[in-house]
């Protein structure tokens, strides 16, 4: 293993997560609970797909095998995708959508903040721009967790029901594999333990003000998106997202 391989792997993880989360937000188009939410969901999705493009472009340059960011997004199968399991989960009701978004944002922000100090200038630049966007995402999703958690009886019950649906996937947010640890030691990526601690603090504080219980830490199980072992949801999501480039391989769009 060399740093280059680790770095490509890491860029795919960042880019794929942002892309898949963005794709899930696209599925809300026209179905949101309020017009303001239509706007906000598309706004957040737009930020994330934009970030995905930046990460995947860099990954494609490092790969240097003739593929570009679009090839990486639209022509990789699920076993080659590296997104967090959390973001590929179905949207469910608004409680599930908001909770997924919040848990992701609470992880994403400390990751990007750390990356903005990366010894890799390209990464630091992309991350510095993304930090501004994700600061907004986290504020928004946090406010909604509070509103729904500490809103009506029904919204509280729905949040309680949403937690076990997605909580088990948070194990990926608080752990690191060898590849990530090597990048951290090289000063390219932030310390995973610090990210995990920041995530834990944000979630605990916000759940408390939302009158929601914080479950015990999720534990490791078979699935592992870092090795391309996804839930069954990703394949269907990709079938929809990749249909055109797959059906018309010679096309220029």
């Amino acid at each position: 293993m060399n740093t280059q391989t680790d770095l490509i792997e890491y860029l795919l993880r960042l880019g794929d997560s942002a892309l898949i989360q963005g794709q899930r937000l696209c599925q809300w188009c026209g179905h949101a609970p309020a017009l303001e939410e239509e706007l906000a969901l598309m706004n957040v999705g737009l930020d994330l797909v934009g970030q995905a493009r930046n990460w995947l472009e860099y990954a494609a340059e490092l790969l240097d095998d003739g593929r570009d960011a679009d090839d990486l997004a639209f022509r990789r199968d699920e076993r080659a995708y590296r997104n967090l399991l959390l973001v590929e989960q179905p949207n469910g009701d608004y409680a599930v959508t908001i909770l997924k978004q919040f848990l992701y944002d609470a992880w994403h922000l400390p990751v990007l903040t750390g990356l903005s100090q990366s010894s890799d200038e390209r990464i630091a630049g992309i991350a510095a721009k993304a930090v501004k966007e994700v600061t907004y995402h986290l504020r928004r999703s946090g406010e909604w967790v509070e509103r729904l958690g500490d809103g009506t009886e029904e919204s509280h019950a729905r949040m309680l029901a949403a937690i076990p649906e997605v909580w088990r996937f948070t194990v990926e947010l608080t752990s690191a594999d060898d590849s990530e640890q090597r990048l951290c030691a090289a000063g390219i990526t932030p310390d995973t333990a610090q990210v995990a601690a920041a995530w834990q603090n944000t979630v605990s504080a916000l759940f408390a003000s939302a009158t929601l219980p914080v479950p015990p830490a999720a534990s490791y199980f078979y699935l592992n998106a870092r090795r391309g072992l996804h839930t069954e949801h990703l394949g269907i999501l990709l079938a929809e997202m990749q249909f055109l480039p797959r059906a018309y391989p010679d096309a220029t769009w």
């Binding site: 963005g22 706007l39 598309m42 919204s155 055109l244 018309y248």
Partner: protein, 329 residues
């Protein structure tokens, strides 16, 4: 987007001598091109006509998100996906501007939206046509937004101030998306495969006539236009705007290398305009009545979104009240 058939409820236009003093004063302001503002006196029929028109316009923005939402999850490149997301986001924003402008007239947003969901309020007929291939995203941007812009550019001079100012802001964003739409088609025609070129022509064949219908009934069958023109809510007739759209669009069609699905389309040197074939008015009225290809689905989707989201909005209200009480204590 646009509102295309708005009842004024007025049978006959009064001349100045028949008007009350208030009415005369109002009409003189209109004639002098002085904008009417929210707190000014206005005839009730003017107020109601504007509420109908602006709400129809706002509903069109919102329902108009659905045909594009249909393809946003399937956009073929990251760039196209980003463009489409930005466009849909703008449309939601346009809806918000317009509902705000409408509320300056004393109407209530939720009540007007409920009329949309019950089928009482209309929205632009164009959004009842399905988007069946990716080229539709280009054609909607180019033709549909193009037609909307021709309408809306004129509405920047509409007599009601809040509506006019909303149009100024909306037109800026809309023109950008229109150029993007055209560029989608141009890319497919110039650099695409035969299958892609076929998609473009197919999209134009399906969307050409519905786009022309966006300008509303022909002038002779547009009984509400005269009053709307006298009030300067409308500034130009449906047929004038439709002709302008055709004249400016045909050269763009030719540049694409596509054909127009109208065998009667022909340049008329004498008039200095294109002549064109008869619009299927039967189809237009059927779509407007609710019998178009997607009317049922789209209204049902919007109604379901609002119904399913009720608990979310209730939670937001309840939470805001709790916070307010806590701060007050």
């Amino acid at each position: 987007m646009y509102a295309q058939l708005v009842e004024t409820g007025v049978k006959r236009i009064k001349d100045l001598s028949e008007m009350s003093e208030q009415e005369r004063h109002f009409q003189e302001k209109i004639d002098a091109e002085i904008k009417i503002e929210a707190k000014n006196w206005m005839p009730d029929a003017y107020r109601q006509t504007l509420i109908r028109q602006i709400s129809q316009h706002a509903h069109s923005e919102i329902v108009g998100m659905l045909p594009e939402g249909n393809w946003v999850t399937r956009a073929p490149t990251l760039k196209r996906k980003l463009q489409l997301m930005a466009k849909i986001q703008d449309e939601a924003g346009h809806g918000l501007y317009l509902y705000s402008a409408m509320e300056t007239l004393g109407a209530d947003r939720d009540e007007e939206i409920a009329k949309l969901h019950s089928g009482k309020a209309k929205y632009s007929s164009i959004f009842n046509y399905p988007t069946l291939n990716w080229a539709d995203m280009g054609a909607v941007g180019w033709l549909v937004d193009g037609a909307a812009i021709v309408n809306q550019v004129v509405l920047q001079r509409t007599s009601y101030g809040p509506y006019s100012r909303a149009m100024v802001r909306i037109c800026k964003e809309e023109s950008f998306h229109q150029r993007q739409g055209y560029e989608i088609l141009l890319t497919m025609m110039r650099h695409g495969t035969q299958a892609q070129k076929d998609m473009v022509q197919d999209a134009i064949n399906r969307l050409w006539w519905p786009s022309l219908m966006m300008f509303g009934p022909s002038d002779e069958h547009s009984p509400n236009s005269a009053q709307s023109m006298a009030w300067k809510i409308k500034r130009q007739s449906n047929d004038e705007l439709r002709q302008r759209f055709i004249d400016q669009t045909i050269p763009q069609l030719e540049l694409l290398g596509c054909t127009c699905p109208d065998p009667d389309l022909k340049w008329n040197a004498e008039r200095g305009h294109y002549d064109f074939g008869e619009i299927q008015w039967n189809e237009f009225y059927e779509v407007l009545k609710g019998n178009g290809p997607c009317n049922q689905e789209h209204v049902a989707t919007r109604r379901k979104a609002i119904e399913d989201g009720a608990w979310v909005r209730e939670a937001a209200v309840a939470h805001a009240r709790k916070k307010h009480n806590k701060n007050a204590a």
